[in-house]
């Protein structure tokens, strides 16, 4: 270890740290990672600016023109450039629907992920740091849940929602319930990863040094351990974001996810599916392609981060 020459102002140290950070250094790694990063940027921009970019507001029924229904993509014989990717049975522009749908999918994926982290990270931190009985109990619960496929948990929770809540309430709560179902189905993975990282970190000497001078447990967890296990958690979150998106799409495809009034890519694929056999393939193909590229881009980028960090998925 040599003494750095950049003793200078704070900004410099900050910049060197940023340069060293995993996230930036993995760019420029592989072309696939670059492409993925570009795609994800595109999806993010779309998520923010879709309302200003779409050719047609798919939720505005007045803008729909029934005479334009079931138009194929523009390059086909019957296609028109006004509807580049064609229209659905009500004359809804598929491109606009896909743009809105991608936004919805990403949003719900992120929300579910946030819930899973909100549950899993504190539980993992406490279990890993405290150890003992509490750790055993929390991890047994997590392990038990892990023996069920997450999608089954989500379906189960959805079923409970339908059974417990009145129909109108259930319908208005459905978007929230989707987030809850996916979020809950994912927390054990987070808890396990965070616990494993915490176990490694808590034995390090700088934690002992903090304990010696009476720093409280919560401060140690929040100020020392969490920041130092942040990178693997971020990567893991990215991997699980794609899972959350797919889970939402699956639920929607099965008809227990987001309602057609708030279509995600999964909902679009489901509604388009009915037309697939009658030859109107574009209605489900394009949402499907969008979903696929989003998920693959996230996975690919997460993989390249993971390679840098040498962590194994929980």
């Amino acid at each position: 270890m040599t003494i750095s020459k950049t003793d200078g102002p704070r900004q410099l140290a900050w910049l060197t740290r940023l340069k060293r950070s995993v996230l930036l250094s993995s760019f420029g790694a592989s072309p696939a990672a670059m492409l993925s990063a570009a795609l994800i940027t595109l999806f993010l921009l779309n998520a923010i600016f879709a309302p200003f970019l779409v050719p047609q507001d798919p939720s505005d029924l007045r803008s729909l023109n029934l005479t334009d229904s079931l138009k194929p993509p523009a390059w086909m014989a019957d296609g028109v450039w006004g509807y580049p990717l064609g229209t659905d049975g009500q004359g809804r522009d598929i491109l606009s629907a896909v743009m809105y749908g991608a936004r919805t999918s990403l949003g719900f994926g992120l929300a579910a992920l946030a819930l899973a982290s909100l549950l899993g990270i504190p539980i993992g931190l406490i279990a890993g740091y405290t150890g003992g009985f509490l750790d055993s109990v929390l991890m047994r619960v997590a392990d038990t849940q892990l023996t069920f496929p997450p999608i089954l948990i989500a379906l189960l929770l959805d079923g409970i929602g339908r059974a417990v809540l009145s129909r109108s309430m259930q319908q208005s709560l459905q978007p929230l319930w989707v987030v809850l179902a996916i979020g809950v189905s994912l927390w054990p993975q987070f808890a396990r990863l965070v616990r494993a990282s915490t176990l490694v970190e808590r034995g390090k000497d700088y934690i002992l040094a903090a304990r010696l001078v009476g720093v409280s447990r919560s401060r140690i967890l929040a100020l020392h351990i969490l920041p130092n296990i942040g990178s693997p958690i971020l990567v893991f979150a990215a991997i699980n974001l794609s899972f959350a998106i797919v889970a939402e799409a699956t639920l929607s495809f099965l008809g227990v996810g987001l309602p057609p009034t708030e279509p995600s890519l999964g909902t679009l694929i489901m509604t388009g599916n009915d037309f697939l056999l009658s030859g109107e393939w574009w209605m489900s193909l394009f949402p499907g392609l969008a979903l696929m590229s989003l998920v693959m881009a996230i996975n690919c980028l997460a993989d390249s981060f993971q390679d840098r960090l040498h962590i194994s998925p929980g």
Binding site: I3, V213, N228
Partner: protein, 359 residues
């Protein structure tokens, strides 16, 4: 060296009387009744629970085995002095350090400081300097923040200004500039990092500093600087050190008293100069002979061969007997008790029987 393990009361009083009569060693002249010692361990034992692992660990029900890392250790550390603990890697030195720091609680025995239980000690009153200064600093914190960490939770410095000043004072005490405080650990050299760790340890105004191999991870050229810094600080601040090392020349430079540890047990203890000039326990002798600087004193060189046995399966009798050149049948069955030889305590049958020479 007033409190001691496995020793009957008579021995204890005998030692005290002897010490008063001779009045020589700084360690034995101050008695526990007169001045409460900075650190007092009585029959301290620590077990680690070790999970059985392997192919059949499901069938064996994951029964935990007990690893005795520290075995009935007793000593006292007098205010303003340095007690060193030496021994090979794995003999339990770090465990002992953590017990003394209150980071682990002993499975058996009592640890007191200034006459009080360790648990009632103000946070930071006992502080520690670790072996690897890189692992001992949060990589994401500026080192100034690490140094000042002790100053906030205790709350004895209220204003930000006071904390800032005190942090700067601690940094300059260890020879670092305020600008160094703005750096991250990876921007400092090993020696500078260890200085930061010492500054952090000083910030809480400790009475006792536990140094667990503080120079082992450093370049030889830097080691002497850190040792001198520690000695200067001791003189200036009246600190007491529990100094842990496996490096005998370092220990000789630092210590007032010395405890030689083998497989969790202290095998020889007394004033450092007494032990260095006339080592009695075969293990101590072999340790000293393995250091070229000290070989001249004993003329012969017998290598300390092999590794110590696993503390999971300690040998019966004297734990040193598998490697001891003068082991007898008695050594293989009976654990040697401590006996007093001048101001030094030794746990060895041969020394007790008066046939101390090796070979």
């Amino acid at each position: 060296m007033s409190c001691w393990s496995d020793m009957p009361r008579e021995h204890h009083q005998h030692e005290a009387a002897q010490a008063q009569a001779s009045g020589s060693s700084p360690a034995s002249t101050r008695l526990e009744q007169a001045v409460p010692c900075v650190l007092e361990l009585r029959h301290v034992t620590h077990y680690y629970a070790v999970r059985k692992s392997g192919l059949w660990h499901f069938s064996s029900g994951r029964r935990a085995r007990k690893l005795r890392a520290v075995d009935h250790v007793s000593f006292t550390l007098q205010s303003g002095t340095t007690l060193s603990v030496v021994g090979e890697s794995g003999c339990g030195k770090s465990t002992l350090a953590r017990l003394a720091a209150g980071l682990l609680s002993p499975s058996e025995g009592v640890i007191r400081t200034g006459g009080r239980r360790l648990s009632s000690v103000r946070a930071g009153e006992i502080n520690m300097v670790f072996q690897n200064p890189y692992a001992a600093l949060d990589p994401r914190w500026r080192v100034r923040r690490s140094v000042s960490e002790a100053l906030r939770p205790g709350g004895f410095l209220k204003s930000r200004r006071a904390v800032h000043d005190r942090t700067g004072e601690c940094l300059s005490r260890v020879g670092l500039s305020p600008a160094d405080g703005e750096k991250y650990p990876h921007q400092l050299s090993g020696g500078q990092r260890q200085r930061v760790c010492i500054a952090r340890a000083l910030a809480s105004s400790p009475r006792l500093l536990i140094c667990d191999e503080p120079t082992t991870a450093l370049d030889v050229s830097v080691q002497a600087q850190i040792l001198n810094l520690l000695r200067d600080l001791q003189r200036a601040l009246g600190l007491s050190y529990l100094f842990i090392s496996h490096d005998l020349p370092v220990v000789r430079y630092m210590s007032d008293d010395l405890a030689v540890m083998y497989l969790g047990r202290i095998v020889e203890m007394g004033p450092a100069e007494s032990i260095f000039s006339a080592p009695r326990h075969p293990y101590t002798r072999l340790l000293l002979e393995s250091v070229p600087d000290f070989t001249a004193m004993t003329h012969r060189r017998i290598r300390l061969a092999g590794d110590p046995p696993s503390p999971l399966d300690p040998p019966p009798g004297c734990p040193f007997h598998p490697r001891c050149p003068i082991a007898t049948a008695r050594c293989r069955v009976a654990k040697p008790a401590y006996t007093q030889h001048e101001d030094v305590l030794v746990a060895c049958h041969a020394v007790e029987e008066g046939r101390g020479g090796i070979g």
